[in-house]
Symmetry: C2
Subunit: 387 residues, 2 copies
């Protein structure tokens, strides 16, 4: 098979990152064949950086019509992910979408249904799934080492953003342009990993503040409580207003607890099943013996490039996807449920009422009085990926 010709739709911050490693031939079997952006400045940048061999298009339609690529990576603002994925699949192109899968689950469900009917390979850029520490955490839970889950708790407040960040993109942090704040932009990875490791909850009760630390209209502070089907509970806390913030995921089960913090994975493992100890111990005060175990974690993971390589291998060799596109709906369901819970001041059952969410979102778009203070500016994303 010849080299897979990849087109990138949207070469802002993330798209440019993808373009760079493809152009540098760091993804075996694939090459950067085309880029597409609505901004003439970005196309000028692409011409200067990649030369004439990489074709340039001002609209996705022009790219699709040109038959210049076999596959597309989509790095546009969030709303456009589902329609562009669907159009690509319809044109017989493989697709790799940036996160989030979209802004509202109805749109994403339609995309997933289209993908299920297609024979093309559809992936999503959950680059944090490539990190060995996340894979190991998932493996410890799935293998049963932790026993039945009792509790999850993720404090993920290392997403500090300054006002200048929000002012840098015309689409950022508006209901119309982005459709959400920290849940849609920064947290899709964490929400994905949370459900990837511990499963999806069945109920969500969230408390969101909108424009609490920034002059924006979307949420920049969230505390969510969830319940799982087995009765376990969970907490998810995030913000772009804390510095330096914390990134600490704790999952408790019948065999102790696993904590991920500071790039380390620690398993406090009980010698005996906790529920069994509770039932059979006769001494009044007393706890099961537990051992603090440092869990070995190998290497750093390939992040975005790793997901792109895996997607290319899936196309060329049938390698299983690390991040199947259809799974993007899970983290979006969580963020939609959190917003819907805050908007309606009530507990939300999963799956959510898609139409109600969309209507509530539309209401906020229609009544938005938010005037962006600046036009779009492409930020350097280097060093901003949260591991």
């Amino acid at each position: 098979m010849e080299q897979l010709r990849i087109g990138i739709i949207g070469i802002g911050g993330m798209g440019t990152h993808h373009a760079n490693y493809l152009f540098a031939n760091e993804v075996p079997g694939a090459k950067l064949a085309a880029v597409c952006d609505v901004s003439p400045d970005r196309l000028e940048y692409a011409k200067a950086t990649f030369g004439e061999d990489v074709k340039r298009f001002a609209t996705p339609d022009a790219l699709f019509e040109a038959n210049a690529v076999d596959a597309v990576m989509i790095a546009t603002p969030h709303y456009d992910h589902p329609p562009l994925v669907m159009e690509a699949l319809k044109r017989g192109l493989h697709a790799l979408s940036e996160k989030p899968a979209g802004v509202y689950t109805r749109q994403v469900r339609e995309m997933n249904e289209a993908a299920a009917r297609s024979d093309r390979v559809f992936g999503i850029m959950f680059n944090q799934r490539t990190l060995p520490i996340h894979q190991k955490f998932k493996e410890l839970v799935e293998s049963g080492e932790l026993g039945a889950i009792q509790r999850t708790n993720w404090i993920i407040t290392t997403w500090f953003r300054s006002q200048s960040y929000y002012d840098s993109g015309g689409w950022r942090a508006t209901w119309r342009g982005e459709g959400g704040g920290v849940l849609l932009n920064q947290c899709p990875h964490n929400l994905d990993l949370w459900q990837w490791i511990a499963g999806m909850p069945v109920k969500v009760r969230a408390f969101c503040s909108f424009g609490k630390y920034h002059d924006i209209e979307v949420e920049d502070d969230v505390t969510a409580y969830v319940e799982y089907a087995n009765g376990a509970t969970g907490v998810f806390v995030t913000t772009t207003g804390d510095a330096p913030g914390s990134n600490r995921l704790e999952v408790t089960g019948e065999r102790g607890k696993i904590v991920m913090e500071d790039g380390k994975l620690t398993f406090w493992r009980t010698r005996q099943n906790v529920a069994e100890f509770c039932r059979t111990y006769k001494g009044g005060f007393g706890s099961p013996e537990s051992w603090k175990c440092d869990i070995p974690v190998a290497g750093g993971g390939e992040q975005h490039k790793g997901i792109t390589k895996n997607w290319v291998d899936a196309i060329r060799k049938g390698t299983p996807l690390m991040a199947p596109g259809a799974e993007g709906i899970n983290s979006l369901t969580l963020s939609n449920a959190m917003l819907l819970s805050a908007w309606t001041d009530s507990t939300v059952d999963l799956p959510i009422d898609e139409d109600l969410f969309h209507a509530e979102l539309q209401k906020r778009i229609d009544t938005s009085r938010f005037q962006k203070k600046s036009e779009g500016k492409t930020l350097q994303t280097k060093g901003t990926f949260n591991a």
Copy 2:
């Protein structure tokens, strides 16, 4: 002044602990003069342990009538704390109540009103206030080093209890006997420290499970979300079902975050005020510089004996109380609010509706079908204090 003659009402687990250090003359200026317990077995134990010089009474009334003491320590089941404190004050005795201050705030408010009218010294056994790590945390917040608080988060799940613990006391873990579970028995210290360090919230939304991990009717699993008057938010998670559990308090402010865990206090301090950085920084991505500071903490604290010594000094020398009795209503307000929120499945504003809480509690007492499987048994509390 002669030695203060102290009587202890209730010599179960905690009362016996107090009696032992008083009998060993470890509290300067005070001596164990009398004990009182409804259980003949406990009085036999007292006779065998303390001899004839320590008077024994089968009822509080008999103790009060005998004029044998100047002050009483109250270590009975929770419901009796307020009436016994009020009776002691009425009789001109100083009083030191075990935690919680009571079971419902209406009763405790009446006690506080009586104490305010009295010239006797009324303290409460918040022994964890004696720990230097807690005092230092409070001092860092109060002095303004942390700046305005943005977030608090306490995961306090190190309170594992086995079923045999609950089966050991006839009054334990029933609505009628104890009036609550982990919030009333294990958590008063944490709830007190939480508000002592970070202040009282104004809203509480809690999710409680009742008899989730044990054959009991009261709560053994709680997740609470709170809001403070300045807009800060907080989370409090506790249970007696996790092992080994976590004890991690994080408070975030405009100058970084302070974390207490594993007996250590760490302050990630930003060089610049976070809100100011957010407003003035022009670089898009970027965070304020922060320094990880290990905060020195001296010594281990005197725990219960320290509170008793301080109360005796307050009586004898006018030393300010570390834990004034009137402050017991704060942690009780928090636990009452959490239960009320869970019972009514709604957000509760503080101060709570005292009458509604009491009516809801009474409903549970009236409809309790819980049959305790065993009679009272006095447990050794040694080594069970959570630092």
